[in-house]
């Protein structure tokens, strides 16, 4: 595989500029649109909501500072979750990020239409195109129009960057600065202003929590800082510093805005100021400015319009970029990654994102739109906090950190708990938002398991370089035999053929050409002919003698296990029959690193053969322990019974302690009997199978003793977790090593849920970095 040229953006953003990028992102539409709504929810305790949100967001900012300094790539949170969490997490991170940014876009579109409508009203315009400005249809319609305009702008590839972006940011900061300054001036000139803060939390702590959840989106600007990571000078130093300094600037500003909005206005009635702000919702701040700020309403409206427009532009761009990236990563259909030839923009991803923005703006009220975006961002940041723990564990010693979180991993765990708390509490504020979130995430799971996972596997699968006479009958029981050495392949093929005959199955012979990491994978192609002549053709000839459908495949991979597992997934293999020499070269490996990996990751029945003679077996010993593996063990035993007339000895060794406990003993045996006589019903003529119960203090030595009277021992495992645990240090390993004769180790297929869970547990347990190869 040729190494791709890595392109890097020029690094020209210094500490001040990148801090301003973060500040600009935070002091934006969130504060303009949400202050009124949040004041109506929390009362004067909005101050507390902003302060507490500052602390909660600081905990996640620590994670962003650490990861942004160590992995300063454009992907930001999505990239880290992709790196640090297993299974569907990467897909869900992108999926949720797409929704979160699109819904934030809906919020800003609605905010823009409110501000523009208010401005038109101030100018004396009552109707526009026959529609009253105050009508809901006007607000929704204008939101759709502005969303379409920004879809068109993004389609043209025009974005607000450089000088224009900086001017907009500075204008917003100046307007907010004048708002705070004139508000504080008004408060200090009116002593009664300070009494407006009682009662402080009229809606109790619940109101504070709701306001926290609602305004959380206004704190997520540091995501933009890390997304610009590739353009930052000395990123290991400047990214974490910008994350912290932007919070140090923004949080006091938010608190001061809350103080002045509540303290400086006079409602003229007995109505409390927070209620007054709540009634005006997204326009609360503009109405407040009218009272104490020179040209207050006009300036605030300009600020609000500029903020919502730039935020809508940014969210349209970022939601498009996320869905485009997901299309390119094969998580979404390929059309998401299609680029328009003329404008060079991902136009279909843009249309889908625009559709999502418009749908949410039309379908849901503004506060529920905000709540939905907040919950999504909370869940996304929650994943980042989880990812930081695994990234430190798997890659920590290989990364160059610019900042390391103190009290690790307590801090990310606390952040996770707090964010779960706020997100769950948002249900209290907006059940509709949660319904949308649940619906979106559920749809994401369905897409992942039915579509994205398969495509992703195909993308990272080891290449197939040769494929001969592959049958297309899916109904057949498909047995795969990895063949490496002609001298040992025969016993494996003969054994697999016995099973295939009894099950009406077919054989798939696989050879994996391994190429070390030092060389590109394509080097393996020069061995194709030699391997076919020396190994595969001979194996195919042996297999064809059994009069069964046979096919052969050759793959190139770094490790044999990778090629074998890819083949299992691609061809829906039912069983692998493979050989085992009986020892491992690596001390950390149990049966050998390849066998271990196949046992862990291949989702099918597995039979591992050790020994030379599986052709003439008179006595087969099946020391059953758990029902899960007993079924497969018996299936193997029955094959010998039918094909060679062998006698099966099903035994179960129990320690004296359990033997003396009648209830425990019966319970154990009952579950085993249920499995081994599964095919025997009342009318069945064949006698039921019996279990030879052996009582011994040492299960291992008793089985080893019994094995001496048998030609083949079939040893099984219940499930992988148990199997690995058991193999790693106890019985199966000991038995496998002490039994001198022919041995078959079997592991049944895991269920898909169990398989997924096992993968997740294994991911978190392992300190090994993830590898494509």
């Amino acid at each position: 595989m040729a190494k791709e040229t890595h392109t890097e953006l020029s690094r020209d953003l210094g500490l001040f500029t990148i801090t301003m990028v973060g500040v600009g992102a935070m002091i934006g539409a969130g504060i303009f649109v949400l202050t009124g709504i949040a004041a109506g929810t929390a009362g004067p305790a909005l101050i507390l909501a902003f302060a507490a949100n500052g602390l909660v967001t600081f905990l996640t900012a620590l994670a962003y500072a650490e990861l942004g300094s160590a992995i300063p790539e454009a992907g930001g949170g999505y990239l880290w979750v992709k790196e640090g969490l297993p299974g569907p997490n990467a897909f869900l991170a992108g999926w949720m990020s797409w929704f979160a940014h699109a819904v934030a876009g809906s919020l800003y579109a609605l905010g823009f239409s409110s501000y523009l409508g208010f401005m038109l009203k101030e100018m004396g315009v009552v109707t526009l195109a026959g529609i009253p400005i105050e009508a809901a249809i006007f607000q929704k319609g204008l939101a759709v129009v502005i969303a379409l305009i920004f879809v068109a702008i993004n389609f043209k590839g025009v974005s607000e960057t450089g000088l224009a972006g900086n001017i907009v940011t500075m204008a917003k900061i100046i307007i907010i600065g004048i708002f705070i300054g004139s508000g504080l001036y008004a408060m200090f000139n009116e002593p009664a202003s300070w009494e407006k803060f009682t009662p402080f939390a009229p809606e109790g702590f619940a109101g504070v929590l709701s306001a926290m959840g609602l305004t959380y989106i206004a704190f997520e600007g540091y995501e933009i800082i890390v997304q610009a990571g590739e353009e930052v000078k000395d990123p290991k130093r400047n990214i974490p510093r910008a994350v912290f300094w932007s919070l140090a600037i923004v949080i006091p500003i938010y608190i001061l805005v809350a103080i002045t909005a509540i303290g400086a206005i006079d409602t003229g009635t007995s109505q409390a100021t927070w209620q007054w702000l709540g009634e005006y919702k997204e326009l609360g701040l503009a109405e407040a400015a009218r009272q104490f700020m020179p040209f207050g309403t006009t300036l605030l409206l300009i600020g609000g319009i500029l903020s919502t427009m730039s935020a809508l532009n940014a969210t349209t761009f970022s939601s498009t970029r996320v869905s485009f990236a997901m299309g390119r990563d094969r998580n979404l259909p390929d059309f998401f990654a299609e680029i328009n030839e003329k404008t060079k923009t991902p136009y279909l991803a843009l249309i889908c994102s625009g559709g999502l923005i418009i749908f949410m703006a039309l379908a849901v009220p503004i506060e529920d739109v905000a709540a939905a975006a907040d919950v999504m961002f909370l869940l996304l940041f929650l994943q980042v906090n989880m990812a930081i723990i695994t990234i430190r564990r798997k890659y920590g010693d290989k990364l160059d950190y610019g900042f390391l979180i103190p009290f690790f991993p307590v801090v990310p765990i606390v952040a996770i708990i707090l964010m779960i708390g706020i997100a769950v509490f948002m249900f209290h504020f907006s059940p509709i938002a949660w319904y949308f979130v649940i619906g979106w995430i559920s749809t994401g799971f369905v897409i992942y398991y039915t579509y994205a996972r398969k495509r992703k596997r195909m993308k990272s699968a080891s290449p197939v370089v040769l494929q001969q006479s592959m049958p297309i009958e899916k109904e057949r029981y498909r047995i795969m035999i990895p063949v490496a050495n002609p001298s040992t392949s025969k016993r494996l093929i003969d054994f697999a053929a016995m099973i295939a005959r009894t099950k009406g199955g077919e054989l798939v012979l696989v050879h994996v050409i391994t190429v070390p990491k030092q060389a590109p994978l394509r080097v393996g192609q020069q061995f194709i002919k030699r391997v076919r002549d020396d190994v595969l053709d001979e194996a195919v000839e042996i297999a064809e003698n059994h009069d069964l459908p046979v096919s052969s495949v050759m793959r190139i991979a770094r490790k044999p296990a990778k090629g074998i597992i890819d083949e299992v997934e691609e061809r829906d293999i039912d069983m692998i029959v493979m050989g085992w020499k009986g020892s491992s070269k690596h001390s950390e490996a149990i049966l050998g690193s390849n066998v271990d990996k196949i046992l862990r990751d291949a989702d099918c029945d597995i039979a591992i053969l050790r020994g030379d003679n599986f052709g003439e077996a008179e006595n087969i010993l099946l020391p059953v322990a758990f029902p899960q593996s007993a079924k497969l063990m018996l299936d193997i035993g029955k094959v010998f019974e039918e094909e060679q007339g062998s006698k099966i000895n099903i035994c179960h060794v129990i320690p004296p302690k359990i033997n003396n406990n009648k209830e425990a003993k019966e319970e154990r045996l009952e579950s085993l009997y249920e499995v081994i006589n599964e095919d025997k019903n009342e009318e069945s003529e064949a006698p039921k199978r019996t279990i030879n119960v052996q009582v011994s203090k040492s299960v291992v030595s008793q089985i080893v003793r019994l094995s001496k009277e048998s030609d083949i021992v079939v040893l099984g495992a219940a499930e992988e977790g148990w199997f690995r645990k058991m193999v790693a240090g106890s019985r199966t390993e000991q038995i496998a090593r002490l039994v001198k004769g022919n041995l078959i180790l079997v592991k049944p297929r895991r269920g898909s849920i169990k398989s997924g869970l096992q993968d997740v547990i294994e991911f978190f347990r392992s300190k090994e970095p993830e590898s494509n190869e």
């Binding site: 190494k3 791709e4 890595h6 004067p44 305790a45 101050i47 507390l48 302060a51 507490a52 500052g54 602390l55 600081f58 620590l62 500072a65 300094s69 160590a70 992995i71 300063p72 790539e73 992709k82 790196e83 803060f197 009682t198 009662p199 402080f200 939390a201 702590f205 504070v208 290991k236 130093r237 974490p240 510093r241 912290f244 300094w245 919070l247 140090a248 949080i251 006091p252 608190i255 103080i259 430190r392 890659y395 920590g396 010693d397 290989k398 990364l399 160059d400 950190y401 610019g402 900042f403 390391l404 979180i405 103190p406 009290f407 690790f408 970095p769 993830e770 590898s771 494509n772 190869e773």
Partner: protein, 96 residues
């Protein structure tokens, strides 16, 4: 993403430095812990002050302690870079 992708993008340390760098934080633990607790106390005072005197004390306490937390983090970033530089030099020296 995988270890290969990170390597290709030049994000990982050179292999000779793997496992050679200290992974403990350079943030002063006790001061940041105390300041964070003060920030939380500030929030509590804001709430318990019921919009009166103690609320304003809480806000000031929050501002000061939160700013202190930021200063400590900022200093830790500078120290972290210095430490990494020193460790790299040590690795170079031990190699030569």
């Amino acid at each position: 993403m995988s270890i290969e992708d990170l390597k290709d993008q030049g994000i990982l340390l050179p292999e000779k430095e793997w496992g050679e760098h200290n992974l403990t934080t350079t943030v002063s633990k006790i001061p940041i812990f105390l300041l964070f607790i003060f920030s939380v106390l500030g929030c509590l005072l804001i709430f318990l002050g019921e919009g009166k005197f103690w609320t304003w004390v809480g806000i000031i306490l929050f501002f000061c302690s939160f700013f202190g937390v930021i200063i400590l983090c900022d200093r830790a970033i500078v120290n972290q870079r210095k430490r990494t530089k020193r460790e790299k030099q040590e690795i170079e020296t031990s190699e030569s």
